[in-house]
Each structure stands twice: as structure tokens, then as C-alpha cells.
């Protein structure tokens, strides 16, 4: 009578049952499904975290959102006009000071910016250091070809060298990207998202866009939740691993299903809005009030921006 229980052969095979173990994602390449779930929870975690920073008392948190938006955007524009790398570096120093005054951990702030910058700016800037991609005065010759080297129709010149101009351009690019990202991160970290969107009204953004933006931001989390549930449900029903082909089909069908669900959701939200008396003209509450400190901050930022641009023009 005793029932014969045997383990299927594939379960004993190493590798096949990896996805059963909790640490599977780290030891082998993560499946696309797991990667997506991780990415989604990371996005949610990050925005909750930044709301927490926005709630702390600090210099930028206490500045009126509209004034802050104008000031930081002004600095961003000034940064984009600068041509001298050390003046850009000075603006970067200024963002560090503002982060410190806003009680953002500098380690966190620097890491957040510099984790991103090498990936995007670094990889793009790297080839431009060499004379093959951009001509310039050699600073450090790496390889003498001993005669002109040609590759099909392209001539690579007589040597491979890092150029003076290439280095200068790359440093400027990386600093500019880092400073711009720092300013954007400061803005987003120190402002509650609802205030941030309302502050856009200063720039004459139509009310309907502010409404759509804030609805989008809210529904992103709902739809992220829906998607993460679909992915988790699938993973929880899986034994063993699936082929990339199967995964692709799953990702496509879950996108399609999500599209259908989102559409139904938008109809529901619309009926709910209509039932509450929405006529197509959104109403947005303003509770912003500026104090002397806000204006002082703005004047200081504008003076610094103008000083940076002025000295850049004098030097350049």
C-alpha cells in the first residue's frame, strides 16, 4: 500500500532546480522575470525613500517649491552654458553644500550620482580620448603603428594616443553630466512629489498637464503593483527554469494583459471622476507661501549662477 514517492530526475540535476532556491538570482544569471520584479520593487523603494528625505527639515526642503524649482533650474541652465571644467566643478561643489545643508547623507548623494555617471557618460566619453575618434595633440602615446594604419576605407593615422583635447572634452562632459544629475536629484529628493508637480504651474504648464502628471505618478505604483503580482504569480507556479523563448512569450502576454487591465482601469477611474462631479476642468489647490528666506536663497543662487557664467566668459 505504501505509495512510492520518487523525485523526478530533473530535480536532482544541478542547475535545473536553481530557481527553487532563494539565492538563485545571485549565483547564476538572473532570469528576466526576476530582474523585472527586482527593478520594480527598487523603483517603489526609491520613491518612498525620497519622500522620506523630502519630509526632513533642511535648507531645500523648507524652500518654497516654486522658488526652489526656478533656482535649481537656473543653475542647471547656467551649467549647460559653461565651457570651463573647473567652474563646472565649482557648481558641483555647490550642489554638495546644498545637499549637506538639506541633511542628505553625502555618501548617499555622491553614490547616487556617480553610480549613474560612469555608466552613461564614462562609456561614451572613453573613445573620444583617443586620436582615432577625435583628432588632437597627443598627450600620451600608447602605440606607434610604425606607418599609417588603415582599416578598410578608414585611416587610423600613425599612432594611438590619448589627446589633450580628448581629455579636456571628456572631463568637461563627465563633470557637466554629474553636476546636472546632482541638481536634478537635489530637486527630486527634497520636494514632495505633489508639490513638485504643482510648482510646474510657475512655468505656465497647463493645469490639465499637472493633473495628468500627478495621476500618472499615482497610477504608476498601482500598475507596478499589478505587474509585479503577475510576475510573482507566475514565478510561484514554476518549478525549474524556463527557456528565454518561453520567458519572452510570457513577457509579451503579460504586457498585453496589463494593457487591457490598464484600459479597464482608466474607464473605471473616468466613471469615478464623473460621479464626483469632474467636468474636464481640473481644480488644483495652492497652498504655497513664500517667505523672505526663499527670496534670499533665490538671489544667492542667481548671483552664483551669473558669477559662474561671467567668469567662464572672462576665462574662455
Amino acid at each position: 500500500m505504501a505509495e512510492q514517492i520518487s523525485t523526478p530526475a530533473w530535480m536532482n540535476e544541478p542547475g535545473k532546480s536553481d530557481s527553487l532556491s532563494m539565492s538563485a538570482g545571485r549565483s547564476r544569471r538572473e532570469s528576466a522575470v526576476q530582474k523585472t520584479i527586482m527593478g520594480m520593487s527598487e523603483a517603489i523603494r526609491e520613491s518612498v525613500f525620497s519622500e522620506r528625505i523630502a519630509a526632513r527639515p533642511g535648507l531645500l526642503q523648507e524652500t518654497d517649491p516654486r522658488i526652489k524649482t526656478i533656482g535649481l533650474l537656473g543653475l542647471l541652465i547656467a551649467t549647460s552654458f559653461l565651457h570651463t571644467w573647473y567652474i563646472v566643478l565649482a557648481i558641483y561643489g555647490l550642489t554638495l553644500m546644498m545637499a549637506f545643508a538639506s541633511r542628505i547623507s553625502l555618501g548617499f548623494f555622491i553614490k547616487r550620482v556617480w553610480l549613474f555617471v560612469p555608466i552613461f557618460a564614462g562609456i561614451i566619453a572613453l573613445p573620444s580620448l583617443f586620436n582615432i575618434f577625435r583628432p588632437g595633440d597627443p598627450l600620451l602615446t600608447i602605440w606607434e603603428f610604425g606607418g599609417e594604419l588603415t582599416l578598410g576605407p578608414w585611416s587610423l593615422g600613425t599612432s594611438l594616443a590619448v589627446t589633450h583635447q580628448g581629455l579636456k572634452g571628456a572631463v568637461l562632459l563627465i563633470l557637466r553630466v554629474a553636476t546636472s544629475v546632482s541638481l536634478a536629484v537635489l530637486w527630486a529628493l527634497t520636494t514632495h512629489w505633489a508639490d513638485l508637480l504643482k510648482a510646474l504651474r510657475v512655468f505656465l504648464v497647463p493645469r490639465i498637464f499637472v493633473l495628468v502628471l500627478s495621476m500618472t505618478y499615482r497610477y504608476i505604483f498601482l500598475i507596478l503593483g499589478l505587474a509585479a503580482d503577475m510576475f510573482t504569480a507566475r514565478t510561484s507556479r514554476m518549478v525549474g527554469s524556463s527557456s528565454p523563448r518561453e520567458d519572452r512569450r510570457f513577457v509579451a502576454s503579460s504586457m498585453a494583459t496589463l494593457l487591457g487591465k490598464s484600459h479597464v482601469l482608466s474607464e473605471d477611474v473616468y466613471s469615478a471622476m464623473i460621479s464626483r462631479g469632474y467636468t474636464g476642468e481640473p481644480v488644483i489647490l495652492h497652498r504655497f507661501r513664500t517667505v523672505a528666506g526663499d527670496w534670499l536663497w533665490l538671489v544667492a543662487v542667481i548671483l552664483l549662477g551669473v558669477a559662474a557664467l561671467g567668469s567662464d566668459r572672462l576665462i574662455g
Binding site: 530582474k35 557618460a121 577625435r134 495621476m215 504608476i220 500598475i223 509579451a252 490598464s262 484600459h263 482608466s266
Partner: protein, 378 residues
């Protein structure tokens, strides 16, 4: 493809804002007229969906993963204009809250990914799927090709924007101020992977989503057609009437115009200009007489001709269409002749407007009447 801040010169970034703002304005106007108060939730949730599917990792052969934009499939479902706004909103939120793409570069990113991608993708799909049966494979193939075209059009524009920096914005010593590569490097560097890999992912995913929807949720694919039909059903007469009245008020302005409208020469003008009348033209002239030749009553024709210069009776084949304004030839205005000819000219204008409006209304009825049956909004 999201351009971060620091790569584009402020001149380029500003130029892209100048391009994208009218695009947004136009899209917003179109969305408002087709969706009215429904626009806010549909666009917002469309944007949230776009944001979320850009986060989906797609397994690629070889063990790596990639991302899709999903711009074309969302456009097929909510329509091109709502999609322009929805994708743009998703890009703004990515830039502001998640650091994906720059703030100053929002103009460029929204123009490339939020405008060019859905518009080229959608119209390629429309062109290729025209007349295909609802279950025809041509539809999902068209969706895939549309996605490929849209993505590559956006990538091409991005590479040109990058390349212009290397071409135009360099310091005196030759070092780059912004993105360091010229067009000759930027375009192949961006386009080769997009044409071969990224575009292929987008195309395959779009086709797969399309096939899945065909099988499980076919009504969703017809959503935009339904919305458009409903909007056409709710056609508003007021703007048309205002426009027509405005044209009527402006009609006498045509009398002030001098010279002949280009290409509307009568045989007399032709012989004056080139010295002779081509044989074929001479044989055809006068085959057709307008209702009010030269926009004048027949009995006052001589007066009108005297007042308005050398317009000829033979040329007015086009007079029913060219009604509202300066379609006629006349030398510097003589006010005596003008007083005589004004009533006839205005009557011509009114007649022409009535005819043109009637023809347009009939054509519209014929075009929209077919889909009148399904006035659902999805």
C-alpha cells in the same frame, strides 16, 4: 535612447523644446476634441502603463536582457495624439523622479521618443494594415514593422542631435564642449545596434503583444477606431459656421488684390506673358462657361472688365471653387468699376461657399456614415 543632461548644448536643447511645444499643443488639441473630459484618465493611465512596460526586461538570445519602449502598441490602442501626450508624460516622470534622461533634455527626448516614434510607428502601421481583415496576419506584421520604423526614426533623430554637438560645439583648441562625436561617428554608432537589435526587439515584442490581443482582447485593438468614429459622430457645426461667415465677410477683400492668381491664367494672360496661346489650351478654352463668368453679372460684364482689368471670359472654369478671394486678374483698382462689380463678386463668393460646403458635408457623411453604427468608446 533617453538623452541625459550635459550631452546637448543649451542651443540644441532649447531648439528641441521649440519643436516639441507646438507638437504637444497640437496633440493636446486633437485629444481634447476626440476624448473631451475622458482624456485625463486615459492619457494618465496610458502614461503609467508606458512607464511600467519600459521597465520590463525582455530575455534575448544569448542570455542578456533588453528593454522595449512599447510606443507603437500604445499608439495603436489609444491613438497617435493621446499617445504623444502619454509617452511624453512618462518621459517627464522618468526624468524628474527616476533620473532617467535629463531635465533640460526633456524637450529633445519628448520630441524623439514621445512624438516622432509614435507618429511614424502609427502611420507606418496604418499604411501597411490598410484594408486588412481583423484577423489577418498582415495586421500584426504591420504592427511589428511600424514599431521597428518608429524606434529607428527616433534613434536616427537622437543620433543627429548627438552628432551636431561634435560638429558645431567645440572649444577654440578643438576639444569638445558637449557630446564629443560628429555625425559620421554618432549616426552609425547609434543606428547599427538600433537597426539590428533594439529595433528587432521592439518589433518582435510589438507583434507578440498584437497577436496576444488579437486572440484574447480583440476589441481593445479596435478601441481607437471606435473613439474616432464617436468623435466624428459628435461633429460640431458651430466652428464651421463661424469659419464660413468669416470667409463671407472677407470676400470683398479679393477685389483689392491685383494681378492674376498664379497658375490661373486665362488665354489672354497667357498670350500676354509668353507671347502666344498654346494650341491645346486654345482649343479647350471656352468649352465651359462659369455661372457668373469673371465673378460678374453677365449684363455688367463690360463694366466689370473695364474696372477690373484684363480678365477674360474664357478662363473661368475654376470660378466655382476659387470663390472666396483673390482668384482674379485685375490691374490697379478703379473704384468706379469696383462699385459696379462688388455685388456680383460677393454673390459669386456666397454661391461658391455654399457649393464647397455642400460637397464637403456630403463627402464627410459618406466617409463617416459607414462607421456610425459602432459608437462605442471602448
Amino acid at each position: 535612447m533617453h538623452i541625459p543632461d550635459g550631452y546637448l548644448s543649451p542651443q540644441t536643447a532649447g531648439g528641441m523644446w521649440a519643436l516639441v511645444i507646438p507638437a504637444w499643443y497640437w496633440a493636446g488639441h486633437r485629444v481634447k476634441s476626440t476624448l473631451s473630459s475622458r482624456q485625463a484618465p486615459l492619457v494618465a493611465i496610458g502614461a503609467a502603463f508606458t512607464f511600467v512596460i519600459m521597465m520590463f526586461n525582455i530575455p534575448l538570445p544569448g542570455g542578456t536582457t533588453g528593454h522595449a519602449v512599447g510606443g507603437t502598441i500604445i499608439t495603436i490602442i489609444i491613438g497617435p495624439w493621446a499617445a504623444v501626450i502619454a509617452i511624453s508624460v512618462a518621459i517627464v516622470i522618468q526624468a524628474v523622479f527616476f533620473g532617467d534622461g535629463g531635465i533640460l533634455a526633456i524637450g529633445a527626448n519628448c520630441f524623439n521618443i514621445g512624438f516622432i516614434l509614435p507618429i511614424t510607428g502609427y502611420f507606418t502601421y496604418k499604411l501597411l494594415a490598410r484594408g486588412a481583415a481583423p484577423k489577418s496576419p498582415r495586421r500584426w506584421v504591420a504592427a511589428g514593422i511600424g514599431a521597428w520604423v518608429g524606434l529607428n526614426a527616433a534613434a536616427f533623430l537622437t543620433s543627429v542631435e548627438f552628432g551636431l554637438q561634435g560638429e558645431l560645439f567645440n572649444a577654440a583648441d578643438g576639444s569638445a564642449l558637449y557630446s564629443p562625436y560628429g555625425l559620421a561617428t554618432a549616426i552609425p554608432a547609434m543606428m547599427i545596434p538600433h537597426l539590428l537589435i533594439v529595433g528587432a526587439i521592439e518589433a518582435v515584442m510589438t507583434s507578440m503583444i498584437y497577436v496576444f490581443l488579437m486572440k484574447t482582447n480583440a476589441s481593445l485593438l479596435e478601441n481607437y477606431a471606435g473613439v474616432k468614429a464617436a468623435a466624428a459622430g459628435g461633429f460640431k457645426l458651430k466652428p464651421l459656421i463661424v469659419g464660413i461667415l468669416l470667409l463671407l465677410v472677407c470676400t470683398p477683400l479679393g477685389l483689392l488684390a491685383t494681378g492674376t492668381a498664379w497658375g490661373e491664367w486665362g488665354t489672354k494672360d497667357i498670350s500676354r506673358e509668353i507671347g502666344y496661346v498654346p494650341e491645346g489650351m486654345a482649343s479647350l478654352a471656352g468649352r465651359w462657361q462659369g455661372l457668373l463668368p469673371d465673378y460678374a453679372f453677365p449684363e455688367s460684364e463690360e463694366v466689370a472688365a473695364a474696372g477690373m482689368g484684363g480678365a477674360s471670359g474664357e478662363e473661368s472654369g475654376g470660378s466655382l471653387v476659387a470663390e472666396e478671394n483673390a482668384a482674379e486678374s485685375r490691374d490697379p483698382v478703379s473704384f468706379d468699376g469696383m462699385r459696379e462689380s462688388t455685388p456680383a463678386y460677393v454673390v459669386s463668393g456666397i454661391l461658391g461657399l455654399i457649393l464647397v460646403t455642400g460637397v464637403a458635408l456630403m463627402a464627410m457623411r459618406m466617409l463617416t456614415g459607414r462607421s456610425r453604427g459602432k459608437e462605442h468608446l471602448g
